[in-house]
Symmetry: C2
Subunit: 306 residues, 2 copies
């Protein structure tokens, strides 16, 4: 079968190649892939992998063969799932604990856009604890995870402040439920109970400045790749404050991923969240789409259709 | 009645003066004070207060008059309590929610040494969550709170690594239950699940370096008065890590302080913790003791007897 693998060459990229068919374990369903989403996290690893390496977490498709142990969705079921860096392929074996059935009305690109971004936003918000009636400041709000986090925080009853890096990145965020959309560093009106940060560095330091005593900071990325610097009064001025780092592939070892995926995709089916598919490209020519993702020129998710 | 108040002059200090008798509210007991403990936190505020200001959190004494609302200990009961910065006096009114009866065998200095240090250590350790069978690294382990934290962590079933600033400060820590006593920055053998830090600055950064993924850092002070600096991989190398700041006088607004005081003093009565009274001075001449506390020349608590 065909799969996208890392290409040799100066610029990190992906090319189609022939790879062996997957061999599902007893708890894995075999899925015929219809669409996959690409995450910036995958782009960042391409350069570090040897040419010919497989990639791919976000998958939507149809179950070709149910898991041999009898669990999970039956053959013919439309599903979304979280693959083990082998999802950019015609077929993939996925554990039934990382699959959920698609409700009618959710198309392939929307389903493929959800697993990594949706689970990351969901687990980061859950780590923050109480959200109802509180204020959540989301940095990097225009990104793939940020746009889902804004919607989930609003769905959880929070007032949402969306911070973005440029005026061009504000697009659509108010319609997603952000009460305020502002550039990084803009002082919010009113207290901030929760910061959800994927920027790190100076943006995180600026956001922390607005957290109230007892507040919570949840980081799930550090795109600045900068050290964490907080002023000397970081805790004393905010007694009870806590700072957390949530990494999806650690979090899923302790979570019911199938249930979370089912929740996310039902929210999409109910039009309570929009998976924010910004660009759908054919998987035989992924380079232009990947370049736009790398350069932060897409406000949302990049999906490749098979 | 007499009370210690802040003195005018070049050097921060305390002097005895006449002050009005306390007027207990309906939920407050009137306590005849027998001993008080001095915290470094109090020393640090002396310079910022106008001359003649009252001080004092840590109190042990005898209930002269029970609370008018009928709650709390009866007249004649020996108690320890957390006063509202007015405890360095012959008599003090304390809410019954911040008092506990002394078991036989706990003397005045031991009881007076417990409230601030014991509650701080207890609440900081509780914030860390699971302790049984885990490893706790305590920085500033030779200080008033540190010495209680070492004992409480050991009592909670943790392996305890005590970090101190100099060889002279290692005294007695092994006997208190520290499995390892080392100078700041010494690499521990084996994983560290919890860091309990009151130093901040470079010591905190060094300690953080040893925290495992999923680990917890609880800060309850920042004696370095330095900014928080952690390397760029602070979270990614430790998925699930969290950093908390616990401030006693915030924490007690949400806690059952009387119950915690009763627990701590029973632990002392059972000889499961030692309150670490390092020095007992007469309250009519506190200056030499305060100076030694300020200069970190006492390995434990400074108590003033009335």
């Amino acid at each position: 079968m065909k799969a996208l693998v890392t290409a040799a060459g100066d610029e990190p990229g992906l090319r189609l190649d022939s790879v062996p068919e997957p061999e599902p374990g007893p708890g894995q369903a075999l899925v015929a892939v219809a669409a996959v989403a690409v995450n910036r996290g995958e782009l960042s690893v391409i350069g570090g992998l040897p040419p010919g390496s497989r990639l791919g977490w976000d998958v939507a498709g149809t179950v070709l063969r149910a898991a041999a142990d009898g669990g999970g969705p039956a053959a013919g079921t439309r599903v979304l799932g979280l693959a083990d860096l082998d999802g950019f392929a015609e077929r993939v074996a996925i554990g039934t604990g990382r699959l959920a059935a698609l409700p009618d009305g959710v198309d392939w690109p929307a389903a493929a856009a959800l697993p990594v971004a949706g689970l990351t936003a969901l687990y980061a918000l859950r780590r923050a604890g109480r959200l109802l009636g509180r204020t959540v400041l989301v940095t990097g709000a225009a990104g793939g995870v940020g746009r889902i986090a804004v919607q989930l925080a609003a769905a959880a009853g929070a007032r949402v402040i969306a911070w973005v890096g440029s005026a061009a990145r504000t697009e659509g965020l108010a319609a997603l439920g952000a009460d305020v959309v502002d550039l990084y560093g803009t002082a919010p009106t009113g207290p901030v109970d929760v910061v959800l940060d994927s920027c790190g560095g100076e943006v995180l330091t600026q956001a922390f400045h607005h957290v109230v005593p007892g507040g919570t900071v949840v980081c799930f990325g550090n795109t600045a790749r900068a050290e964490l610097r907080l002023p000397a009064d970081w805790g004393r001025a905010r007694p009870g404050v806590s700072i957390h780092y949530v990494y999806l592939f650690d979090e899923i070892t302790r979570q019911d991923v199938a249930r979370a995926l089912a929740f996310l995709v039902q929210m999409a089916a109910d039009e309570r969240i929009d998976p924010q598919v910004a660009l759908v490209a054919d998987w035989t020519d992924p380079a232009p789409a990947l370049r736009r993702l790398q350069d932060r020129q897409v406000n949302g998710k990049v999906v490749l259709a098979l």
